[in-house]
Point group: C2
């Protein structure tokens, strides 16, 4: 599997791990990776429905401490221009359906693909990482709005399942486990699905995908047993 050599993508399972602040667990690595003094933040996923302004304060504070300025895409009159002129882009988490619908409605999906193919750094967390996969068909989010498609940015040759959770052997709940859901996905879709646990992330550079963070990741392929992947370069 050949990835675009220009891609420079950081895809994190979550923005926040238990017991620490927004991006705390990843900020040093993200700063090293993004190599920029200015980030364009995309707040469209609106976690808990908060406003774009409110949401943008979170990455502004986290990156501000590293002397990196953050501008929300909504602060620009033209989102397409904002993306085309961005030094680096960070797409925050929240609701994947809302994020995708907004990006399609603003007609910036192709623009995002283009600038990332040209080598602009892309960082995503949660919903923003879902977008780096082929479709959003493995999001955990509730479908609170109807997007015109489930097609995502397709930087990666697989789907991501962020906030991946192992089945709880003690559960008495009969709702489906995450693994059951992903197996259902594979009855109707062929691409692999990478379950990224909270505290894990991918870095894509030089055509290679590296798994980083505190956990193994769980790789599901259609008609195969799921396997655990260790940190390091992934062999896709």
């Amino acid at each position: 599997m050949k990835l675009n050599q220009n891609y420079k993508i950081l895809a994190a399972s979550t923005s926040t791990v238990f017991g620490s602040g927004y991006l705390d667990y990843i900020i040093e690595d993200a700063v090293d990776f993004l190599q920029t003094d200015e980030i364009l933040f995309v707040p469209y996923a609106r976690p808990s429905g908060i406003s774009y302004d409110e949401y943008t304060e979170a990455p502004r504070k986290a990156f501000g401490q590293k002397n990196i300025s953050v501008k929300g895409i909504h602060e620009f009159s033209n989102p397409k221009d904002a993306i085309q002129n961005a030094k680096a882009i960070f797409v925050g988490g929240g609701n994947t359906f809302l994020l995708l619908k907004t990006l399609y409605e603003l007609d910036v999906m192709e623009t995002l693909k283009q600038v990332v193919a040209d080598g602009i750094h892309y960082m995503g967390s949660s919903a923003g990482s879902n977008l780096t996969g082929m479709t959003v068909g493995t999001t955990n989010d509730m479908p609170i709005v109807y997007p015109p498609s489930f097609e995502a940015l397709g930087f990666l040759p697989f789907n991501i399942n962020p906030h991946y959770l192992d089945p709880d052997p003690d559960s008495t709940h009969k709702g489906e486990t995450r693994e059951t859901r992903i197996k259902e996905f594979h009855k109707f879709n062929s691409q692999p699905v990478l379950g990224l646990r909270e505290g894990s992330w991918l870095e894509i550079e030089n055509g290679k995908i590296e798994l980083k963070g505190n956990h193994t990741a769980r790789l599901f392929r259609a008609n195969e047993e799921a396997v655990e992947l260790n940190n390091g370069i992934l062999d896709f």
Copy 2:
């Protein structure tokens, strides 16, 4: 809020509660409610991607013990005719997106609305209960396929969230709780959402909605605090 007086609907949170077999907890009540010797089963939600034939065996066994015969809709050459000639309809759980997509593709959504408005009994569990609400925007399922709309059958003047789960105060997982997701839904949608816990169900008859089973249900209205509803006739 006036419901169609003809509606005879049983909407269950789940087909199965922990520690017992398929429909065991509800079969007596369902038999009393449905008042029929023949059920048309709709297996399109395909839990875990099982086949229509395989899936149909589950309700066939459960209702067979009560001398009620079950036919799968896929056993008929024309699903629209099958619905129009049904004595009672049971739409099983599984993946809500797959169920909805299949019903739209077969062009039977309007047929279902019509026969239920004419007084044919409708029973749903999980995904089949999601369908009785206004939209599927509060399903817990993974969007494994893309339906042409999120509009559901709209028998009820609200949405259902089946398998409702209370937030776990001890959780260290940063993915959204069910309550957070429903609150997000209400930033973009105005209809109430009824969280039905496993083991609870609604019976709709004579223009009234009754909550039955072993739990209270949690009602979420936009811009209001959620409240617990006791068993009995719901005041909508």
